[in-house]
């Protein structure tokens, strides 16, 4: 991921998170504010309901008292207190009285609780209203809620009872108003609020008739445990207030619903604003990232370019220093570091040259000293033979000249090797079969490994399948392989197995081949592995230290790589990879 992308993502994430946090905080605050407002409105409405309930209760009491003190009730009382009471003639009296006092319900109940006349259900005369005959001081009792039975069902009434003396008997007047839609409509309901009255004696209505599933669930909950409850969903906040009757039974549930549409609208607005601000933030982030890239990442990219140049071998590459900030300081440090590295490299090259010359001198001295010493001995033997045994001088001379000539050949050979290494020609690339080249080399050494007196070495050639022909100089490659095989045989003086393995390395966009030469000799230490390809370095007593240097030179001239893997006691494997 580029620095510019990181900057863009960072700025965008920062803006979005900030906007989200602000939006969440604002939304939470607004929600809380609305909930407080809802609670206040609900409380106000409930208080208003209770006040209206009390006011209507007082009004009902006043009207029922007016009925109780009317001439009609007095006539009934007089009749009932007589010797031959006859209440039958008053069966329709309650309807007229209820109309006069605008009462929804009115029952005139005789001693013993038997209905004389019923306004709400005229046919119900003669039936019992036993609860009226209970020992209650009805004339000081207030209004209460009561379920009223009607011909076509039941209704909820706000009822007051007054007792009228009829001689030594008591006549009861029970009247009231129906708590119906008209009652609910009379309550001051703020905009966005809605009130409903669920009568507990009715079957639980379907959610759609209550307006929502929440209301239905709330009713169900309050029916099971009658207490005031408030529940909220995205659409509304509903408070359910249980209403009880005289016997503390749950008669109805008042549902006060506060619409949250306004809150939802505001939340939507906040969310929309947050999205807009977020989008603006992303855009701003994009602009800032571009600006930052132009002001911050360009020096960095230039610095990175300089680093790549240095890595590519251009030690003269320098980063432009355009600012005094951290990036400018970084460029200055880079330039300083590059200069120091160049100086160190030069010093190292000089040191390596000196070391190489010293090694060359040591090797030359060593290589030349070995044949020179026999030459000196031979010449000294000739001198001693001439002086001490002139008669044998001739014979000694012949032997000594033979030895001298052999040693001089040896010197010529040594000089020729050094000369060859110095004159490594450029490879002449042509299509070549790697497996065939390996077989040629193996064939060359077969006789050697089978020579009598030599420890047995088994040569195993594992030719890889589909190893394509490569473009290479076959002579140089054979030469490199010969050196590796020779090295491996030298590493196994006590015999072993020499394994040569070729394989194709076709990867994405490149075709390569590899050849591995493994021995089962003593192996090498890590230090030896590091210095293995250094010219004139050898672990053998009679080696020139040029074999592996020549191998590396060939591989390098073919744009290939050579690696060595070895552990003491486990043999050594050289791996050459070449472009096909």
């Amino acid at each position: 991921m580029s620095f510019r992308t990181k900057v863009l993502l960072s700025i965008t994430a920062t803006v979005v998170i900030a906007v989200w946090i602000v939006a969440a905080v604002v939304s939470t605050l607004v929600t809380r504010s609305f909930e407080r407002s809802d609670a206040q409105r609900t409380s106000a409405l409930v208080a208003q309901f209770r006040r209206e309930f009390d006011r209507r209760g007082a009004e009902v009491a006043r009207r029922v008292e007016a009925v109780a003190s009317s001439d009609a009730i007095e006539r009934i009382a007089v009749n009932l207190s007589g010797a031959q009471p006859d209440a039958n003639q008053y069966f329709d009296q309650a309807q007229a009285l209820a109309r006069e006092q605008s009462l929804s319900f009115l029952e005139i109940v005789g001693p013993g609780g038997r209905i004389i006349s019923s306004a709400e259900w005229p046919a119900r005369f003669g039936y019992q209203e036993a609860w009226l005959a209970e020992a209650v001081d009805w004339n000081s009792a207030g209004a209460f809620l009561k379920r009223e039975e009607l011909a076509d069902g039941s209704a909820l009434g706000l009822i007051t009872v007054r007792a009228v003396k009829a001689g030594d008997r008591t006549l009861y007047v029970a009247g009231g108003l129906q708590l119906d839609k008209e009652f609910l409509d009379s309550l001051p309901v703020a905009e966005g609020m809605r009130i409903q009255l669920y009568r507990n004696f009715e079957p639980l209505p379907p959610p759609e008739s209550l307006g929502s599933k929440l209301a239905a669930a709330l009713v169900q909950e309050v029916r099971q445990q009658p207490h005031e409850l408030t529940r909220t969903d995205p659409g509304a906040s509903i408070t359910a207030i249980p209403l009880f009757g005289r016997d503390h039974g749950l008669l109805a549930i008042l549902l006060v619903e506060n619409s949250r549409a306004e809150l939802a609208s505001l939340k939507t607005y906040i969310q929309g604003t947050a999205w807009a601000v977020g989008a603006a933030g992303v855009l701003l982030g994009l602009i800032l990232s571009l600006w930052t890239a132009s002001r911050v990442t360009r020096p960095l990219r230039e610095l990175a370019g300089s680093v790549r140049e240095v890595a590519g071998g251009n030690w003269n590459a320098r980063a432009a220093v355009e600012s005094r900030d951290e990036v400018g300081q970084l460029a200055r440090d880079f330039n300083q570091m590059t200069e120091q590295l160049a100086e160190q490299r030069d010093r190292m090259i000089q040191a390596e040259r000196v070391a190489a010359w010293r090694e060359l001198a040591r090797r030359l001295a060593h290589e030349l000293k070995n044949p020179l010493f026999p030459l000196q001995i031979t010449v000294e033997n000739l001198q001693r033979a001439r002086q001490a045994s002139p008669e044998q001088f001739e014979e000694v001379f012949r032997e000594s000249t033979t030895t001298l000539l052999a040693e001089l050949d040896n010197l010529k050979t040594i000089i020729g090797r050094f000369s060859d290494f110095a004159k490594m020609p450029a490879p002449h690339l042509e299509p070549a079969d790697l497996n065939q080249m390996v077989r040629d080399v193996v064939k060359l050494f077969e006789a050697q490994v089978r020579a009598p007196g030599r420890a047995p070495v088994e040569i195993v050639f594992d030719a890889g399948e589909s190893v394509d022909s490569i473009r290479a100089d076959p002579e140089q490659i054979r030469r490199a392989l010969r050196n590796l095989v020779l090295n491996a045989l030298d590493a196994m003086p006590k015999g072993g197995t020499l394994t040569i393995r070729t394989q194709s390395l076709n990867g994405a966009g490149s075709r390569k081949v590899a050849v591995e030469v493994s021995d089962t000799g003593e192996g090498l230490t890590p230090e030896e592995c590091q210095r293995l390809f250094t010219p004139y370095y050898t672990t053998k007593q009679h080696g020139t230290g040029l074999g592996l240097a020549i191998v590396q030179s060939v591989v390098s001239d073919h744009k290939g790589t050579i690696t060595v893997h070895s552990q003491p006691g486990q043999g050594t494997t050289f791996r050459i990879e070449l472009n096909a």
């Binding site: 039958n88 003639q89 069966f91 329709d92 309807q95 007229a96 259900w121 005229p122 046919a123 119900r124 005369f125 003669g126 039936y127 011909a151 076509d152």
Partner: protein, 439 residues
Amino acid sequence: MRLRAWAWLALTSLPPLVVWPATRPRYGGTLAVDLSAAFNTLDPAELPAMLSPSIAETLVRINARGEIEPCLAVSWQREAEGKRWRFSLRPRVVFHDGETLNALNTGPLLLAVLKKTYPDVTVTSGGQTIVIQSERALPDLLPQLADSRAAIVRKTETNGLIGTGPFRVASWEPNRRLTLAAFEDYWGGRPFLDSVVINMGPARATADLFDIPFAAARRILPETVRIWSSQPRELLALIASDVQPAAWQALALAIDRAPLVNVLAQRRGEAAFGLLPQWLSGYAFLFQSSPDAARARQLVAPLRLAALTLAYPSNDSFARTVADRIALNARDAGINLQPAPAANGNVRLIRWQLGSADAATELARLAAMLGTSDRAAALDLAKPETLYEAERAMLDSNRILPLLYLPSLYGLAPRVHIRETSPKASALTPRLENLWVDP
């Protein structure tokens, strides 16, 4: 104090003397009548029962005890096993236009009426004798002839009505007012009243005579108004249209008729357990039963009844109240009966006007209404035991459930007096010719 008590006792004993005083009737004066039901025809069959016999008379009539008595015919003979009937017309009877009643002008009128009931009937007229003959017996001829549809009347070109009754039509405004004038040449003697003005529409308590329909709410009447009550002449009953027999029997057991009589009818009616009232059949007491809500619930429990509708006549507040009470009784028995002002329902509440004072005729009408006339016709309804058997069968058919008998009620102003003539006088309506008024 004792003197005042005696005076109070004397005064309370007076009303029967005042209401029907043995004083001599007074001739003259106009009687103002208010009738709640309007009518737009002077057809005797359509006229209120109180008016029809005062204008148009029949050959015979049925008295309050259900007996046939002479009217325009003074005597009759049943011949040939009831296939031929010979009637002797009352002499010196004239129509309101002065024409004398005789067999020649009566015969065609009778024939036209009787053909509707007996297609093969023939009427032979001669002098003051009319012979009615048929191929088959005519056992119910006399009740048929007593019906107002068999009134001997003629119509004028202006749709006026010319009969032989004690009053003639003086003026007529359909649906509004009918004025009757005393017929000076009435064969029974001139009526006491000079004229009778009948106003139609909502009955007012200010008239001399007015009908008092049964309504849900009691009507507040001036204390001076007396109430004249007829024999029960209306039956309130339930008709089953689509009710399981067990449910019907449960409903019959659930209904308590006492509150209907004592409260809703204010003791003006009678509990009906049979179809015909006691005064008409003489055996109605045999059908009496008591409500048994517990037994009704037992009958209903295994039925899994759906809600039933109880249809009652619309605009009839009394019927609605009765229906409400019936529904309440039914609910106590576990029957969901829903009253509704409609023409049809699972159960119908009907108000059946007794159109005849003859038990057999009335039962036949009821049988026709219930669709069981075939079975009734197979019986000789002239015998009380077969009449009872027929009525029992109709009740057991689970089609009809009697509730109440209601009388006709009329309010009488203090100035109105009724002359009791004979015990045979009709007790179904007050007879205008028997009324007289103070100045």
